[in-house]
Amino acid sequence: MITTGIDVGAKNIKVVIQEDGKLLGKGQATSGLDTASDIKQAMDAALAEAGLTRDKVEKTYATGAGRKEVKEVDDSYTEVGADAAGAVHLFPGTRTVIDIGAEEGRAIKVDENGKVVDFAINERCAAGAGAFTEAMARALEVPLTELGPLSLTSSKAVPMNAQCAVFAESEVVSLIHQKTEKRDIARAVHDAMSSRITSMARRVGVEPSVCLIGGVAKNPGFVDSLQRDLEMEILIPDDPDFVGAFGAALLAAGIAK
């Protein structure tokens, strides 16, 4: 069965089309003011990649913070359910899913059947979310994509005290003034964020395998910090930011429960 998952996040809208558990196409659009047209844009991209037309899609499920804004769907699942479905499908050994979105971090514990048994959400604090690294990259005057690789060249741990993303900016500036090397600051940024995420994840109990999803999973500097904190290897899928949408599509197809 061909199904679609639509993930309406705070920053981006993602669409995944799957058939029998195989990803056929994916599309993305920035969340703007007109959700319907943004969804269409992402959907068109996904259909194009899959080489399909809309009428071939049998079922559509929505997920994400804005899932209630999606019209014409068959059902919707929360991010927690969709993340778990997607991650467990990609890595069946997953017991802990960590999803870091632009404004929110989540840790989800799943059993051997992929069923959610516990979850924790870090909300109302950007220090545990993707927005944090964006702000820090700006303060360091380093492109976001280079922040991770830069931090990997550091071997020195510098503590960062500020928790608020914006105050952390001024702490970064003061570290620059103290002539701390940029790569060490970059690592400090990732360490601070990783500590926040680890703290949250420990609430559900971190059991291997851990699967990291969300856009931040593409940042090797952060992944490195998190692996150090959790003292274990972390699994990262190919398109970590599309896992929620993929999960919703799988739920629509009845492949995941």
């Binding site: 005290n161 105050f167 500590s195 926040r196 680890t198």
Partner: protein, 375 residues
């Protein structure tokens, strides 16, 4: 000589492990300064206070809801990190809810031979408190005897009282010297002295304090004293913070902290009577933690006296973030100090303090006291 205290502060775990290896005795971790150390010394047990390390940590979130004070979370983090793995027992005297959670989570997750909750009365202004505490101290003593397998005699108790009293009395002599126009030691050094007395054998500590007193007789700071400050509020052993304030042109000359005067100010007066009654009387009548300071705020006149006698011109009022008992006293204390002509600065401590942000405030606060030369 005086450098010894910092060494002990920095290496408290090594000290305790070494003590244990040397004496073969038991080490007891305690969570609040209402724990009667006299009885521990009487039993030959070394009481050491459990304190935090002021490093950010990510292990307490599953155990303590983040709205409880950073101090209790920092303490528990030390236990979860295994830094106190040499402890044979833990104990707490009933005080605030926050630190109690560090104790109960420790009790649940970090195995020790002996764990004891001492229901220290809160209504210390009631005549009923001493008789009640005497009974509780009897139970405490009995349980400790069962644990150590050793009977604690009245003579043992008297010896315990003498050991603890001796150190208290010497510490008070050190504090007397801080009244001088040129105090012979900084607030930081003094903090190291008090905190190390909570984590070392008091007999050894007292010997070094005694020697230090001679050294301090003719010592000066080797820098201008600057503004004379008082520091008061909840638990504070953040050396980085104290050092920062003193590096901005000031010296702490007196404090009201449970890592300072509140800990050692009052003696047990024995007068040949029943030692447990004497101990109970001391803990009921000591300078109280705010959680026990009701219905009358007895701490208030005491703080004002300290500020006057040590001639402080400003006060840094500190509080562990979320510490309710202190939060409920601070507005009253602040306005009383200000009425007495002191300038005050209020700051909230977290596990780690944002030194940069705090420095601006501290400097501005000191400028209020001294910026006459700018006009």
């Amino acid at each position: 000589m005086i450098e010894m205290f910092q060494e002990w502060y920095d290496n408290r775990h090594e000290y305790a492990k070494h003590w244990k290896a040397k004496t073969g005795g038991k080490v007891l971790g305690y969570f609040c300064t209402y724990v009667p150390e006299e009885i521990c010394y009487a039993a030959g047990v070394l009481p050491v206070r459990i304190l935090g390390s002021h490093e950010s940590q990510d292990v307490t979130e599953p155990h303590i809801f983040a709205m409880y004070c950073p101090f209790c979370r920092d303490c528990l983090a030390q236990g979860l990190a295994g830094r106190f793995d040499y402890l044979d027992g833990i104990t707490i005297a009933q005080s605030c809810l926050h630190i109690r959670q560090a104790y109960t989570s420790w009790d649940l997750h970090i195995p020790v031979e002996w764990s004891y909750y001492l229901p220290m009365p809160h209504n210390v202004q009631s005549p009923r408190a001493v008789p009640y505490l005497v009974e509780e101290l009897k139970s405490f003593k009995k349980s400790m005897e069962e644990w150590t397998g050793k009977k604690i005699t009245d003579d043992d108790l008297r010896r315990g009282i003498e050991i603890v009293n001796r150190d208290r009395q010497l510490m008070k002599q050190v504090y007397e010297l801080r009244k001088r126009e040129e105090p012979p030691l900084s607030g930081l050094e003094s903090m190291y002295m008090v905190v190390s007395s909570q984590t070392t054998d008091k007999q050894e500590h007292a010997r070094i304090v005694e020697d230090s007193l001679k050294e301090l007789e003719n010592r000066t700071l080797g820098r201008p004293v600057g503004q004379r400050l008082m520091i008061l509020g909840s638990e504070d052993d953040d050396h980085e913070f104290v050092q920062m304030v003193e590096s901005c042109g000031s010296t702490f000359v007196i404090d009201d902290h449970c890592t300072g005067t509140r800990y050692f100010w009052d003696q047990v007066s024995l007068d040949g009577g029943d030692p447990l009654t004497a101990i109970a009387t001391r803990y009921v009548n000591r300078v109280p933690c705010p959680t026990k300071d009701w219905p009358v705020r007895t701490r208030l006149p005491h703080i004002l006296d300290l500020a006057r006698e040590w001639d402080a011109s400003g006060a840094v009022i500190l509080q562990q973030k979320f510490c309710d008992p202190h939060e409920l006293d601070i507005p009253a204390i602040k306005s009383a100090l200000e009425e007495q002509g002191l300038i005050t600065l209020f700051l909230e401590l977290d596990v780690t303090v944002p030194i940069g942000q705090f420095k601006t405030r501290v400097e501005a606060f000191l400028e209020i006291m001294q910026e006459e030369d700018l006009f």
